[in-house]
């Protein structure tokens, strides 16, 4: 490198334009894309059922990531902070529902209060109660974290807040791993409702307990449908909140220019707290759904989904809500397809590879607006 620097100084003043070589980079990207397309198309024609199955599992994953990514993108849009603790709030959501269901049987409260209710109503109302409780606890937790750890550093260098966020994240993970809290082991998670699986093979049939779906069928479960529906509903309601309501307007104003918003009489602290609360409530919801779908939880549960959701938010253009959604879906598909067709262990690696490639081509992400130069 030292040599390179001296050679840099000694080059003649008239240098050739590097734009002439831009095709090399484009050809490289094209080759990568072509490779991916060929792999996908070949595997699709190889076994369409398997392909559909993988896509469904990717959708399920992607919609969970979307719920987490919303919180990341909102917080980053407003305070420009990678909230590393967000993944652990997601974990907390799963644990709150675990305690509510296993220890306190909260999902059965309608049956205890009104013994004559039909079981379907009991399940629905009970599960919704559990989910709402998790969301509320997560929102409260995030607001506390914001007040205690991030607010004092709002004027400090950005990196100080980032390191604080890492500290908070570690604290939540390892405090939770203490034996008298949750213990570091994987804990089997008791679902508030039963998972029903169907398979498509000459029409839709339910998979009976102890029965295997026939070869070549596509299976899907009620939890996948619930995750998709809930995630889309949340996305729409958030879109409504941000675009149509007063608090949404205040959020957009704060994200655009914090000082100017303050001068216009917006309580910026309150807006930031509300943003944290909403984002974390979504993460808590995601945590419950994730735990129901993959019923084994421990305190490091939120680390990788959190990171991937952040990658998804960046991919879609950080600060943009539809971007986070689209990015998360891409991430889910990429992960599922990589696990299915390339190699299972590489599924954690693919997210970051995609991130790097997309950011190199579009530095602000898919939906991101070009950043304005600040004076």
């Amino acid at each position: 490198m030292q040599q390179a620097n001296t050679s840099q100084r000694s080059v003649p003043a008239t240098r050739k334009s590097g734009a002439r070589l831009a095709w090399i980079g484009r050809a490289f990207l094209l080759a990568l894309a072509l490779f991916a397309v060929i792999v996908l198309v070949r595997s699709f024609f190889d076994n369409p059922q398997l392909f559909a199955q993988i896509v469904i599992s990717g959708l399920q994953l992607g919609f969970v990531y979307a719920l987490i990514a919303l919180g990341y993108t909102m917080v980053y849009g407003i305070v420009k902070l990678i909230n590393f603790a967000h993944g652990d709030v997601f974990m907390a959501g799963a644990f709150v529902s675990f305690f509510a269901v296993t220890r306190f049987q909260l999902h059965l409260w309608p049956a205890m209060v009104f013994p004559n209710l039909p079981p379907i109503v009991v399940t629905v109302v009970g599960s919704i109660t559990v989910i709402l409780l998790s969301m509320a606890v997560c929102a409260l937790m995030a607001v506390t974290i914001e007040r205690v750890a991030y607010k004092p550093l709002r004027t400090a260098p950005r990196i100080a807040a980032l390191i604080t966020a890492i500290g908070v994240s570690f604290f939540l993970e390892y405090f939770g791993a203490l034996n008298f809290v949750f213990s570091p082991r994987f804990i089997p998670y008791q679902r508030p409702f039963d998972v029903v699986t169907w398979y498509i093979f000459d029409g839709i049939h339910q998979v009976m307990p102890g029965q295997n779906p026939p070869q070549g069928s596509i299976t899907f479960s009620n939890i996948a449908i619930i995750i998709m529906v809930v995630s889309i509903l949340m996305q729409l309601s958030l879109q409504f909140l941000v675009r149509r309501t007063r608090i949404g307007k205040a959020m957009r104003a704060t994200a655009f220019d914090k000082q100017a918003a303050q001068l216009m009489g917006i309580n910026v602290d309150r807006v930031i707290s509300i943003t944290f609360a909403i984002g974390s409530a979504f993460a808590g919801l995601g945590g419950v759904l994730y735990a129901i779908a993959y019923p084994s939880i421990n305190t490091l549960l939120g680390v990788l989904p959190g990171l991937k959701a952040f990658v998804a938010a960046v991919l879609g253009g950080i600060g943009s809500i539809p971007g986070a959604f689209v990015g998360a879906l891409i991430m889910g598909q990429a992960e599922a397809l990589t696990a299915g067709y390339i190699s299972t262990p590489m599924r954690d690696a693919i997210a970051f590879t995609i991130l790097i490639v997309v950011l190199l081509v579009r530095p602000t992400g898919i939906f991101g607006e070009p950043e304005k130069e600040k004076a």
Partner: protein, 459 residues
């Protein structure tokens, strides 16, 4: 259970002694006369060496546990110094240091493992490969500097192709040279100098350097496109790098063609050749090299990139080059540290290089103070002896569960540190050797000299 007051006292004395030793190291190296410096360094080396070899009663003054802490303190300090160069001095928020540490550890371990198992070709392939790749990178760098405003993707593609060709060439050269040189080196059936102890020491030193260079070359390929992303995105991408490296380690016997690394089960049978001499030597090397970089014009350029990119661009500084330079150098240090660590511990498992543990160097650098080599040194040794050594032993006396409390204490101290003293323990203070050298006097004009020992603080 109760704490033993005597062991507490001994631990405190030990930590104080280590801190005094670090202080002495920096003081001694800063003295004016060359012979005093060399003598002082030898004395400091000898003090510890004597403590390791002299027995008091039936165990040496520094027992196995203490020497282990000492070696690990040296390696983690090397890794953290590299991170400080990248993050503290150049302002690039990198979380990827642990990945380069792991690459260095595995690369060095693989070379010596093959050597002790009668396969000299590993050393040949790695050595030739590292040299060839380095030549290709430098040559391409020279060639591409003729182009103005070259898109980074094109440059990356060219480097990638060059590196792959060089790697394949090195493999074939090594594979053909290996059997040809077998009479010289010996094989596992007819061990020649393969079995010799001295040769192993030489191979170990070579392996550590090769591992460092290899980590640096990987850092070059990774950093070239990724450093252009900007601070937060770079941090996340480098964190992703650690995860990718860790995934590859877990699958080193299935995805990568290295059955001797044994994947997730961990690599065993690495010769334990690291002695106090090597740990000290490599730490000293890293300190001296980094100090000389920082106080040179290159170092000032690196600092200026941290302070204000636009202004330094206006001063004619090639920002991308200096970012890459500091990133590659920092990763080189991490690779060296990894090589030393692997040959101390003798067993490598992917769990050691997990990205959650990878935050440790960051915590050390932040504790010591961003942009303070002294701070990193002190924090690194203190970290190892206080948190890993004393606290683990003391908490272990309290109960079986208590040691896990350390992981709760780390983030709390980190949080308090950030809230109370965001500039780190030592801020930007440097001691002795690490101070900026005073410029020679010109005609007794004192104002020609800048304030010594002060590196501008991070804004």
């Amino acid at each position: 259970m109760e704490l033993d007051p005597l062991s507490l006292l001994i631990s405190i004395v030990k930590i104080a002694a280590v801190m005094a030793w670090v202080y002495g190291l920096l003081r001694v190296m800063g003295h004016a006369s060359k012979w005093v410096k060399i003598g002082g360094i030898i004395a400091l080396f000898a003090v510890v060496q004597l403590a390791i070899s002299i027995n008091v009663g039936d165990s040496p003054i520094l027992n196995n546990f203490d020497t282990g802490l000492l070696f690990q303190a040296c390696t983690i300090t090397m890794v953290s110094l590299g991170l400080n160069l990248i993050y503290g001095f150049n302002g690039q928020f990198s979380l990827g240091q642990w990945g380069f540490y792991g690459i260095g550890a595995y690369a060095a371990a693989d070379i010596t493992y093959r050597w002790t198992n009668g396969d000299a070709a590993g050393l040949l392939v790695a050595g030739i490969g590292v040299i060839l790749i380095g030549v290709v990178i430098l040559g391409l760098n020279r060639f591409l500097s003729r182009y103005r405003g070259l898109p980074v993707l094109s440059a990356f593609t060219l480097y990638l192709i060059g590196v792959i060709i060089a790697g394949v060439a090195a493999y074939y050269i090594g594979a053909t040279l290996g059997p040809m040189l077998a009479p010289l080196f010996g094989t596992s059936d007819v061990p020649g100098i393969l079995r010799s102890d001295l040769a192993l020491q030489v191979v170990f030193v070579l392996a550590v350097f090769i591992a460092g260079a290899f980590a640096a070359e990987v850092a070059f390929l990774f950093g070239l496109p990724v450093l252009t992303l900007g601070s937060d995105y770079f941090g996340i991408a480098s964190l992703g790098f650690v995860i990718v490296v860790n995934t590859l380690m877990v699958n080193s016997d299935t995805i990568l063609p290295f059955p001797e690394m044994k994947g997730g089960r961990g690599m065993v049978g690495i010769p334990q050749v690291t002695t106090w001499f090597y740990a000290f030597f490599f730490l000293l090397l890293v300190i001296v090299v980094m100090r000389n970089i920082i106080h040179s014009s290159t170092g000032r350029a690196i600092l200026s990139v941290r302070e204000d990119e636009t202004a330094s661009k206006a001063m004619g500084i090639n920002i991308a080059n200096y970012k890459l330079l500091s990133f590659v150098t920092g990763s080189l240090f991490a690779g060296l540290g990894g090589g030393v660590y692997a040959h101390y511990i003798g067993f490598l498992s992917p769990g050691t290089f997990d990205f959650l543990i990878g935050f440790n160097p960051l915590i050390i650098v932040v504790f010591g103070g961003l942009g303070s080599m002294t701070g990193t040194l002190v924090a690194g040794f203190f970290w190892m002896f206080f948190l890993e050594g004393m606290l683990r032993v003391l908490l272990g006396q309290l109960g079986t569960e208590a040691p896990t409390w350390r992981f709760v204490l780390y983030p709390i101290t980190l949080l308090l540190m950030m809230l109370v003293r965001p500039k780190g323990l030592l801020g930007s203070v440097e001691w002795g050797f690490l101070k900026r050298p005073v410029a020679p006097r010109r005609g007794g004009n004192d104002s020609a000299r800048g304030p010594a020992g002060v590196v501008p603080a991070l804004k």
